[in-house]
């Protein structure tokens, strides 16, 4: 199989308007991946499937990854000369900036016909709140059907062009996306008569006033 650089160059030559970036994997496995731009995602994927040298006819795995906003502290060092004539002082100036997060869809492609792979492709949304649309690759590979529904369900990526985008595992009325890193569990604490330790803290937060014990009614004469 061609190297990912060659695949990237061929994609860029074939689709001049698209951007394809090589994402390196620093780990031992060294499975690098191609980051496709969302606007051209579907046509690039179709090319990867139908190109005779690649024939990536099988999408094994499609999944989502959540990358929350990251607060990064930049340290800027400046050397200030000492007016008294001593050694110059190093002043550290700390600034914080927020690196915007994104939701990512990762696809592992293999070729069953030529028996090679994997080629890992990624698509990223613009942010995690209101621009969460990505092109659906289900028209290219049917195997993404349930998997994209699962990503939509658990991560909240909206796949445009999916013919039946409904929640897969959670129920329809469910509001949040549980696999996101900032998901908060529902506080479904149930009253228990002898709360202790961490449960006690939670009980206090949940029931500021514990349910009053109701005395048994006196039997009526």
């Amino acid at each position: 199989m061609e190297s990912l650089e060659q695949i990237r160059d061929r994609l860029l030559a074939r689709f001049p308007g698209a951007t394809v970036t090589l994402v390196t994997n620093p780990g031992v496995a060294a499975e690098h991946s191609l980051l496709l731009d969302a606007a051209h995602g579907a046509e690039l994927a179709l090319f990867l499937r139908d190109d005779p040298a690649l024939q990536l006819d099988y999408c094994s795995n499609a999944t989502g990854v959540d990358w929350p906003d990251k607060e990064i502290t930049d340290v800027k060092k400046t050397t200030v000369p000492d007016p008294a004539g001593g050694a110059p002082k190093v002043v550290e100036e700390k600034t914080k900036h927020v690196e915007p997060g994104c939701l990512e869809a990762v696809y592992h492609l293999y070729s069953m016909a030529l028996r090679h792979g994997p080629v890992v492709i990624r698509l990223r949304t613009a942010n995690r709140s209101d621009q969460v649309k990505l092109p659906s690759l289900t028209p290219v590979w049917r195997s993404c059907d349930f998997q994209e529904r699962e990503i939509y369900d658990l991560y909240g990526i909206v796949f445009e062009g999916h013919r039946d985008l409904r929640r897969l595992l959670m129920w329809e009325e469910f509001k949040d996306h549980p696999m996101r890193k900032d998901y908060v569990d529902p506080d479904d604490y149930e009253w228990e008569p002898t709360p202790h330790a961490a449960v006690l803290e939670r009980a206090k937060a949940h029931y500021p006033v514990p349910p009053a014990a109701t005395p048994p009614e006196a039997p009526k004469p």
Partner: protein
Amino acid sequence: MSVSDLSSFTPSSGPTVRAVKDPFHGDLLEVSMGPQHPSTHGVFRMVVTLDGEVVVKLKPVFGYLHRNHEKIAENTTYLGSMPYTDRLDYLCSMTTNWAYALAVEKLAGQAVPDRAQYLRVILAEMTRLVNHSCLVGFLFNDLGTSFTPLLYAFREREKILDLFEALSGSRMMCNFQRFGGCRVDPTPEWLAAASRLVDNYPRFLDEYETMLTANEIMLARTQGIGILDAKLAVNAGITGPCLRASGYNYDLRKVDGYGFYPRFDFKVPLGAHGDTYDRYMMRILEMRESVKILQQAFRDLPGGPVMDPKAKIRGFRPKAGEAYGRIESPKGELGFYLISDGTPNPYRYRVRPPSLINLTLLEEMCLGHTIADSVVILGSVDIVLGEVDR
């Protein structure tokens, strides 16, 4: 539901569907099969639209066993989710363990000693025997034989599960593989008993096949039913015996050659028609190949440690990066996708469940068949809900 609601419905493949707009056939009936229906193999539900007895639309509904396995795994250490992988495919915990161990070993660059590799092959193929024997039994349950073939399968299964219990301490939730090897070394007595069991297994298969393979009801109910087109199956990511029953040769034991499979001499059986009968036959033939692999493994099993001495159990933190490891589990391609950020917990842990993805074409396979046949087709796909819903 009325006929007009189905006007947008176009079957993308599969057998011809009767004209649903024909006023002669009257109204359609929508039936919700499951999640408590016994023939759905757990808590699977399908919403079936019927024209008389014939399926014109089928929508699977998932999630009744969903516990967000992936989130739980992201909140625990790498080793912490090893026992939890047992609960994915609770019939084949040895292979789910192996798939997870394989992915983590790929992520961390961990070597596995030879003896452990052989042991893994032995345990995985014994698991395949368990799974396929039971699947055939369940398939006959779906055909209406009410437990008799299944109990023959369970008799053999118990013998293998006894061995698993002797080795790992648990019949089904084995929790046996570790990153860099296996948990314990089997005793010579265990190996002798396992080898004896494997040598006797073809006799059971012959007995099983005498009763089942040429059974008249079986032939009438399964041949030409639920035909799966190979090209469509590849596109829909169908793997395992279902894909090979359609005649497409793709077995990860041969393609990826993971573990020590390239050292074994075995064939990949292929079907010709892709119908339910071929999917049944595929399981029987794969069991015969598994017996061959097992006999070679017992013959060639080397000595040495079962655990890499450099393997880290406590404080295991793989370098930042990601890896996707996959194996040929009895149900199809089972993969684990892991992203590490250098902490003791995985940043992302994903299970690629073969049972779920093999259901992608369930609707196509069932269209135009009767509802009784759709039960048999579902039975031949081989799903386990612990893995479908995760």
